[in-house]
Assembly symmetry: D2
Homo-oligomer: 101 residues x 4
């Protein structure tokens, strides 16, 4: 399945990038395929792989924080693989012009 | 932690209530505190309790479906309990008039 | 259409209820049907009614804040009305036991 | 402000790419900065620019469909610009290794 998640730490002011950087390092070390963008991180894996990764990110941030919000969006399609790129390619084929990705 | 989730089955037409009913039955049987509303289900529990519940809902729906979308929003606050009602009460105290809930 | 939204103010510490209370007062004054729960506010109206309401909430909070996050989920179904209660009733009819709402 | 949105058409089967392609074409024609990824589209602009764009996408899809779900996530920060790339760069500077984006 393909999953987008983002974690919002509360009580740390308006700049969150230091905490997001910690999350990205954990994602990077997981070995799962991922893509990082301005509104979250997309990862691909089975349920346990992805949820354990997000739990690991949450546990790490909660060591220093009192409250966090996590947003998770899952697209689960039987038998589908390599969808971080595949979903974009599938749409691109149906669009007449070159699109920004 | 307090968690809102919703599951959207694809490929079943425009009416989703039959599938949502299956989800609610599983939530009801879990024994976790919950509240069902028009845009999702709110449950409270620790990470493993809630995520195992959502995984159980997903596994059940995927028996008959090819693709589902799941949206999960987590509000994780150290030491906080009874927040399905508590968060609403906390806001109500700061509002001058009676609010609809 | 039926819309759930929530606004997260950043840079105000870990307690957000004072700011959420401001949002609820604005929603209450709008006259639109709404329901407030622990993870957001559900309102019903046409596109412009609902989006102007959310914009109004955002403008009010941004008077005092530097950064906010807003989450909006829309369920838009042609001709459907009274769905804040109607969607719940539609699921309830398909569930064998009494559910918590 | 920077906004991620995705539109899920219901009642069209399990493959959504044809409808997503329509959305991308409208986004592309809007002239707003955007980035398309596997879980949604990120655009940058002021409230009215972005919301009118999303409304335009919704109106176009609803010509042929009975029901759609729309998910919108807004990150609104006073005075911030060029954040589709800027937010990623800000995190990258705090991460020791090269990250995938």
């Amino acid at each position: 399945m393909i999953v987008q998640f983002s974690i919002v730490p509360l009580g740390v002011g308006t700049s969150l990038s230091e905490h997001v950087a910690k999350v990205i390092e954990i994602v990077n070390e997981s070995g799962l395929p991922y893509k990082f963008h301005a509104m979250g991180t997309i990862v691909e894996g089975d349920w346990d792989e992805v949820m354990n990764l997000i739990k690991n990110c949450r546990d790490t941030l909660m060591e220093d924080l009192e409250r966090i919000l996590i947003d998770i969006r899952i697209d689960d399609r039987k038998g589908a693989k390599n969808r971080i790129e595949g979903k974009v390619v599938s749409v691109e084929k149906k669009v007449k012009r070159k699109i920004k990705k």
